[in-house]
């Protein structure tokens, strides 16, 4: 099973981009699973269900969303494998700009939108900086100049990522993103892989600098999601 991690500010178009990506990958929707990591509430599952994509949503509630992510990601992978998916996608709403739910060796996509303002890329930290791919949305409603300055500002923060402009409504650009992601790595576990960046401090083993994935490394306040088949 392949794994791709998506992150991005709220309402930047993550769900739309993921749905267009699945279309562009020309995969049977039932072969794809999505795990949505959100904070308080989310309605995206309705859109995934409508597209025939199985989804599990988890709410981090009072804990840090990144801690929540790393505490549950291996379970998510095992759920995906047991479900027989060919592709698992995680979608995290980056609620504070420090969020960075990316794992070494696993394809990572940051979704940001042109409407958020030209200087926004300079203000987003690891979530943008450590992504392999940056999908830029809502380019169809701002001027060409603003799009160019926006892309330029992304480069200031992340010079090595591949930039893809994607229209979440028409799907234009999703084809190129799919071309990039088609070769995402096949995995059977994430155990012992590492996060690309330490998560913000809270009160669990990951607060004290733990980055390894797996039950035995987890201590303290960790909220678990339920992955029922």
């Amino acid at each position: 099973m392949k794994l791709i991690t998506f992150a991005g500010p709220p309402s930047s178009g993550k769900t739309s981009v993921i749905l267009k990506l699945i279309e562009a990958l020309d995969m049977d929707p039932s072969d794809v699973g999505v795990v949505k990591f959100d904070c308080l509430t989310s309605f995206d599952y309705l859109r995934y269900e409508e597209a025939g994509v199985k989804t599990v949503t988890g709410y981090s509630g009072k804990t840090c969303p990144d801690h929540f992510f790393v505490g549950n990601i291996e379970d998510a992978v095992q759920w995906g494998l047991r479900s027989g998916f060919r592709l698992l996608i995680t979608e995290s709403a980056g609620l504070c700009n420090r969020c960075s739910p990316y794992i070494n060796g696993i394809a990572s996509v940051c979704v940001i939108d042109n409407l958020s303002g030209v200087n926004t890329p300079r203000k987003i930290g690891p979530m943008l900086k450590l992504a392999d791919y940056v999908a830029v949305t809502k380019g169809d409603i701002v001027s060409q100049a603003e799009r160019e300055v926006f892309a330029f500002n992304i480069r200031q923060v992340n010079a090595s990522a591949k930039l893809v402009s994607v229209n979440g409504i028409t799907g234009q650009g999703a084809f190129m993103l799919a071309k990039h992601l088609r070769d995402a790595k096949d995995i059977t576990t994430l155990k012992d892989l590492k996060l690309r960046f330490t998560t913000p401090a809270a009160v669990c083993s990951y607060c004290t600098g733990e980055t390894r994935i797996g039950e035995i490394y987890q201590m303290g306040t960790l909220k678990k999601m339920g992955f029922e088949l």
Binding site: D140, V149, T170
Partner: protein, 339 residues
């Protein structure tokens, strides 16, 4: 300059010299909260003085910062061959929705204009999307797009980073809260314009030449009228955009001189593709691509007879323009012959 040479320069030169050659290094450093840059100091010393936790918060390791700066400067340095290297695009036909072959080979050179016509949902966007991603018989239409007559390897397609195509549509707005001057200056700086003031002046003159109503560079971009916005976007695209290809989705017929607008783009060596149902724009183009049932149905060259009709259309257009001007100035409308 190679990556190695630039890296060596950044790690050995005084910061003052670095900033003279690469003013954008200041932007990069300000992103990690470095505000004071002593000109005599070296980058290493500057970074040594930086609080460890700051680099950490940004997901950077201090020792990696010179390399990151190097990568950034290289990625935004203009004059890289790929930007300038597009002199023509060739579209090799694929299939329409019913699987019938398009049988089309269409080459567009810089300075050329082609209109794209066809009903809503006929596949115009699909054609524009194929061009944007430089399709290599791997999209649903099976079309192939050649650059300078050559196939395009995936690496090049990925590297284009959306730089091939500039887009203009009626739905586009300015969302930034700044004056026209600030807006143009910001774009010019991101394009490494050697003479920002001159570039801004050029764009301003051009935009005012296209717009029905004049505006000053102290106007906020968000306060411009529809026509003025469009005029500014076209001028900006013509003089500052990196992209050799401009895709236009209609230009509204009020408040802007459409014919001049297209001429500004072609004079600046753009390949212009314009989706339009406006006879003035369509006949102005040398060719028009007719889209039907998801495919290119045919390509029509504009005939001498059509060019004669165009002259008549221009007269009608001119009459309408004069009527608008009269209305705007509060005059009474009298006989059309008098115009």
């Amino acid at each position: 300059m190679t990556e190695r040479e630039l890296y060596d320069f950044l790690t050995t030169a005084a910061l003052g010299d670095i900033l003279v050659r690469y003013p954008l290094a200041r932007d990069f450093l300000s992103n990690i909260r470095v505000r004071e840059i002593p000109p005599e100091m070296r980058l290493e010393a500057l970074l040594a003085a930086l609080d460890d936790t700051v680099a950490d918060e940004f997901g950077l390791r201090k020792e990696d910062i010179p390399y990151q700066l190097c990568r950034f400067l290289l990625s935004v340095t203009p004059g890289q061959a790929r930007e300038a290297s597009v002199s023509s695009l060739t579209i090799l036909g694929g299939r329409n929705k019913s699987g019938e072959a398009e049988n089309v080979t269409l080459t567009l050179a810089r300075g050329e204009v082609a209109a794209v016509v066809g009903p809503t949902g006929s596949g115009k966007s699909r054609l524009l999307a194929d061009i944007e991603c430089l399709a290599q018989r791997d999209t649903p239409t099976g079309r192939q797009v050649l650059v300078n007559g050559q196939e395009v390897p995936d690496e090049t397609r990925f590297d284009m980073d959306g730089k091939l195509v500039a887009q203009l549509s009626q739905n586009m707005n300015f969302v930034m809260d700044m004056s026209v001057r600030e807006f143009l200056e910001m774009h010019a700086r991101s394009r490494f314009s050697e003479d920002v003031d001159k570039t801004v002046a050029l764009c301003m003159a051009c935009a005012n030449n296209l717009a029905g109503e004049q505006f000053s560079c102290d106007t906020k971009v968000t306060q411009l009228s529809g026509g003025q916005s469009r005029a500014l976007m076209i001028a900006d695209t013509a003089y500052m955009s990196v992209s050799p290809l401009v895709l236009i989705d209609e230009i509204e017929n009020a408040g802007i001189d459409r014919k001049k607008a297209i001429r500004v783009l072609t004079k600046n060596d753009k390949i212009v593709l314009i989706a339009t149902h406006d006879p003035l724009l369509a006949l102005n183009a040398g060719k028009r691509i007719v889209i039907k049932n998801g495919g290119i149905f045919k390509v029509i060259e504009t005939t001498p007879e059509e060019k004669r009709v165009l002259a008549d259309i221009e007269k009608i257009d001119d009459t309408l323009l004069k009527l608008r001007t009269q209305l705007r100035s509060g005059a009474r409308i009298t006989a059309l012959d008098a115009l």
